[in-house]
Amino acid sequence: MRPFIQFESVSKAFGSVTVVNALDLAIEKGEFVSLLGPSGSGKTTILMMLAGFERPTQGAIYLDGRRIDHLPPYRRQMGVVFQNYALFPHMSVAENVAFPLEMQRVPRAEIAERVERALDMVKLKQLKDRRPSQLSGGQQQRIALTRALVFEPSVILMDEPLGALDKQLREHMQLEIRELHKRLGLTIVFVTHDQSEALTMSDRIAVFNAGRIEQIDDPQIIYDTPRTRFVAEFIGETNLIEAKVASVDDHVARISLGAGLSARAHAGNGLSAGQTASFSLRPERIRLGAVPEGSNALDMTIADCIYHGDHMRVQLTRDDFSLVARCERLAGNWTVGASVVASFDPSDCTVLTQ
C-alpha cells in the first residue's frame, strides 16, 4: 500500500534550472513533516507542486493512493496557509472562513454554524465582522489557519506561515499549531527556513539542499546524528573536524585530529582505517575541566571567551587545531591563555558521509 502522500521521483525544472531533482518523499497520515532548507533549496516548489500551483516536470505525486499531479488546485482538497496569509481583503473574517464551505456547496445554515465553531476554536469569534485589514498580524494568521482548516481538508500545507510575525508571537503560534495538529490529528506539511521552528514542531524534518533531501528523520536524530556536512552545519552549530582514521573497531573509530591529538568517535558503516573523513561535534557536548570515565580528553588552550548572556562560547586551540565549546556560565571561570582539558563522549562525535 502506498503512503498517504507520496512523491515518486519528482523533478521540477524552470527553463534550464532544475529546482527539484528526482525527489522521493513519503508522508503518513497524521504526520507533521517540515521541509527545511535555505532559500532556493526547492522546498517551496515542492509545496506548490503538492498544492497544485506547479506541475512536476517529471514523476508522480499520490495522495491517499490516487495520482493527483494532473489535478488543478481546486480539486485537491488541501488547505494552504500562505506566508502573507492571503486573506480576501474585500470580505469580512466570517466571509473569509465561509468561502471554502460555499465552494463545497454546504447548506447556508450549516455554514454559519461551522464558521462559528471554527472561529470559536481559535478564540476569535468576536472579530467575525471585521475586515482582515483591521486585524493584527497574529490574528490574520489565525484566521488564515482557520480558513484552511474549516473545510476539513485531507492535508494542511503551510508555506513559512510564521515568517512575518515577531519572535514572541511566532513561538506562541508554533505551540498553537502543534496543539491543533495533535488535537485534530491533522496531516501537516510545513515549509520553513527556521531550524528551531522545525525542531520544535515536527514529527519529522526533511532537510533540503539544492533540490535534494539531505536527510529526513525525526528532529532529535537530525540534531544528534546529522548524516551530511550540510545538515550538521545548517541545523544548530557544530565543530566540523577533518580527521584521519587510524583504526576502526566495532563502530568506534580512533581518529587523529592533528596537533598530536587523537580521539575516539562514533563511526558508521563503511569507514575504514587510513581514510580521511569529516566528523561533527556539537559545541554544547564539550565539557571543560572534569573528564568522566570513557570520554575523550584533549589538552587545549583557551583562545577566547565570549559572553552570550545565558551561556559562554569558549574558543579552544592547540596549534592549528581548534574547537568551539558552549558552556554554562556557572560552570566555571576561564581566563584567556589558560590551559584546559576539553572532554566529550565518543558517541557525540559523529561521522558525516559527505
Partner: protein, 267 residues
C-alpha cells in the same frame, strides 16, 4: 530664500495653467453679445441660451450618448486587455502593451484620417456607432493604464488561496479578482468618459451633422457666430470634468487607503 523662490515659481506655473480657464469663465455670465471684456453687466442669458437653443441642447445630449457609449466599449475592452496582459502567459506582452497605449501618443489628426477611411469602408461614417468606436479607441489606453495598476496591486497568493480553497478559475475571477479590480475599472471608466467629452479632432473627421458633440459645437460656433454661449458651454464642461476628476481622486484615495491596510500589519 530658496524656499521662497521655489514657492513663487510653483505659484507662477499654477497661475499660468489656470489663467485661461479663469479668463473665460466670467464671460459665461456677461449680458453683452460679444465675447470680450469688460463685462457690462452680469446675466444668465447665455446659460439660458445654452440649455434652450436646439443646436446646443442636441450637442449636449450627443456628448452624453457618445461619451457613455465610448466609455462602455472602452471599459469592457480595456479591462479584458488588461486581464489578458496580466499573466505572463502571452508572448511579447511588452510590445502588446505599447501597441494598446499607442492611441495616447499618435496625433489625433492621423488617427482621424485613418478612422474616417476605415469607417466609410464599414459604412459607419457619420453614425453614432462610428463616432463611439472612434472615441473608444482613444479611451482604451486610459482604461488599460488604470485597470492594469489595480490588477498589479492584487497579491497573486490571494487568488491562489481561493483556488486551493476549492474555487474553480471562473469563481476565483468573479469572487476575488473582479471585486478587487473594481476601483481601477471605475476610475478607468471616468477617465474614458472625460476623454470622450472633450475630443474634437477625431469628431471633426468621423462625425456627421447629427453627431455634433458639445466640444465640436463649441469649435464651430467660434468660427461661425462667436458669442458668449461658448463660454457658458466651457463652464458646463469644466464643472463636468471637475466632478469626474474629483470622483476619480476619491476612488484612488480609497484604493490607496485599503491597499495600505491590507498589508500585513506585522511587517
Amino acid at each position: 530664500m530658496f524656499r521662497a523662490l521655489q514657492f513663487t515659481f510653483g505659484a507662477a506655473i499654477v497661475i499660468f495653467l489656470l489663467m485661461p480657464i479663469f479668463a473665460i469663465l466670467p464671460l459665461a455670465f456677461t449680458s453683452s453679445v460679444f465675447l470680450n471684456y469688460p463685462i457690462p453687466a452680469y446675466s444668465m442669458r447665455w446659460l439660458h441660451e445654452l440649455t434652450t437653443a436646439d443646436v446646443w441642447r442636441t450637442s449636449i445630449v450627443n456628448s452624453l450618448i457618445i461619451g457613455g457609449g465610448a466609455t462602455v466599449f472602452a471599459t469592457v475592452l480595456g479591462t479584458l486587455a488588461s486581464l489578458g496582459m496580466r499573466k505572463g502567459a502571452l508572448p511579447m506582452v511588452g510590445l502588446l502593451r505599447t501597441l494598446f497605449l499607442l492611441p495616447m501618443v499618435v496625433p489625433a489628426v492621423v488617427l482621424g484620417v485613418g478612422m474616417q477611411i476605415f469607417l466609410v469602408r464599414l459604412g459607419l461614417a457619420s453614425t453614432y456607432l462610428g463616432v463611439i468606436i472612434a472615441h473608444a479607441v482613444l479611451c482604451i489606453p486610459f482604461v488599460i493604464v488604470s485597470v492594469s495598476a489595480a490588477l498589479q496591486g492584487i497579491d497573486p497568493s490571494i487568488e491562489r488561496a481561493a483556488s486551493s480553497l476549492g474555487a474553480p478559475p471562473v469563481t476565483v475571477f468573479r469572487r476575488v479578482t473582479l471585486p478587487l479590480a473594481v476601483p481601477g475599472v471605475v476610475s478607468g471608466a471616468i477617465f474614458a468618459f472625460a476623454t470622450s467629452l472633450d475630443e474634437v479632432v477625431l469628431t471633426l473627421f468621423v462625425a456627421g451633422p447629427n453627431q455634433r458633440t458639445l466640444a465640436r459645437q463649441m469649435f464651430s460656433s467660434i468660427r461661425e457666430n462667436i458669442n458668449p454661449t461658448v463660454a457658458a458651454a466651457a463652464l458646463l464642461l469644466i464643472i463636468g470634468t471637475l466632478c469626474l476628476g474629483g470622483l476619480a481622486a476619491l476612488l484612488r484615495w480609497r484604493q490607496k487607503r485599503s491597499a495600505l491596510k491590507t498589508a500585513p500589519s506585522a511587517i
